[in-house]
């Protein structure tokens, strides 16, 4: 640890050692404890922070009432925004079922559409005709029963 590096750390992180980079903390503290120049530098920055702590801002006594009493606009969210807010809530752990429901909706819709709609296809489920065709086809086959006995 050098005085230059300590200066960099004090300037960019301040005098509170808990804010210093972890790897540099102990070497910095050692340098401050052993080197008089480093110790003087630390004291100067500590004095600056103390001065900053003593700076006061105005009271702003009426400001709270002014902010509390300001007229807030009506919430006129668009339908799409409301839907998005409902589906993707920004906070709260109890509302995860909403995006899950949204993700399942296309699947449910697909099943419903598949079940109840034929999309113009008219397949007649006529078992009799089917078996007629089957028998017809079978009649073309050659069924030659050969006697295995000599």
């Amino acid at each position: 640890m050098t005085l230059h590096k300590l200066t960099d750390i004090l300037e960019s992180h301040g005098c509170d050692s808990s804010r210093w980079p972890e790897g540099d903390r102990q070497p910095c503290l050692n340098l401050i404890a052993t080197d008089s120049q480093a110790s003087a530098l630390y004291d100067q920055y500590a004095a600056l922070e103390k001065q900053l702590d003593h700076l006061q801002a105005p009271d702003f006594s009426g400001l709270e009432q002014r902010v509390l009493q300001q007229e807030l606009p009506e919430r006129t969210l668009k339908l799409s925004d409301r839907l998005v807010n409902w589906l993707l809530p920004s906070a709260g752990n109890n509302n995860y079922w909403r995006p899950a429901l949204a993700a399942c909706l296309p699947l449910v819709m697909g099943i419903m559409v598949g079940n109840y709609s034929s999309f113009g296809s008219t397949v007649s489920d006529d078992g009799f005709q089917y078996w007629e065709d089957e028998l017809l086809m079978l009649s073309f086959n050659e069924y030659t029963e050969t006697d295995p006995r000599p």
Binding site: E11, S12, D43, F60, E64, R66, L68, P73, S90
Partner: protein, 190 residues
């Protein structure tokens, strides 16, 4: 109630949640704005606007991305920067000049620079810093934000933030050292 729960209520139009959030966050926000703007009137206008925006844009806040205080400070910083771009630092310097003009001259000659004058000198030194340095110092010193959080608020890299805050501290230390010399204090040497 946590900030998240309160903001959720604000999203649904709950004005009492809004009032709770104002009471919790107004002081740090107004002090931060004051340190950037340097005058009370503009600070009050900006603070009011910050909470109006919190009300109207509540649904845009994402708690997983930033704490509410970080988000509010970011709104404040953006509004202050816009304000300074439009109106400049003139008001701030006018206010400080007014304060300086009312200081009794004889007092400083007979009793040296007292504590109050030292505070005013520091106030003036802070006001003379560039806005980015001033903001970086205020966020880290008064706001208690980490360098990373302060960089997020100012929308700059951590390296740029550290450069800003280093320059600010160096400049103030040098100026305080000058004041220290005037007071004959041994602790300061630039």
């Amino acid at each position: 109630m946590t900030d998240e729960e309160l903001m959720l209520a604000v999203c649904e139009g709950d004005q009492s949640a809004y009032q709770t959030l104002v009471r919790q966050h107004l002081k740090p926000i107004s002090h931060y704005a004051y340190r950037i703007l340097g005058n009370q009137r503009d600070t009050e206008d900006i603070s009011q606007e910050v909470f109006l925006r919190m009300w109207t844009n509540a649904a845009k806040w994402r708690p997983e991305k930033a704490k509410l205080s970080t988000w509010l400070h970011r709104i404040t910083y953006n509004l202050c920067v816009d304000h300074l771009r439009k109106h400049g630092n003139t008001q701030l310097k006018e206010d400080l000049d007014d304060a300086g003009a009312s200081e009794p001259q004889a007092d400083s000659q007979s009793h040296g620079i007292d504590e109050q004058q030292q505070s005013k000198a520091l106030d003036r030194a802070i006001a003379n810093l560039p806005e980015s340095q001033r903001s970086a110092l205020m966020l880290c010193h008064y706001g208690g934000f980490s360098n990373k959080e302060a960089a997020d608020i100012m929308n700059i890299s951590v390296k740029a933030l550290e450069s800003n805050i280093s320059r600010a501290r160096r400049s103030l230390r040098t100026q305080l050292a000058e004041i220290g010399k005037l007071r004959g204090e041994a602790g300061y040497s630039a």
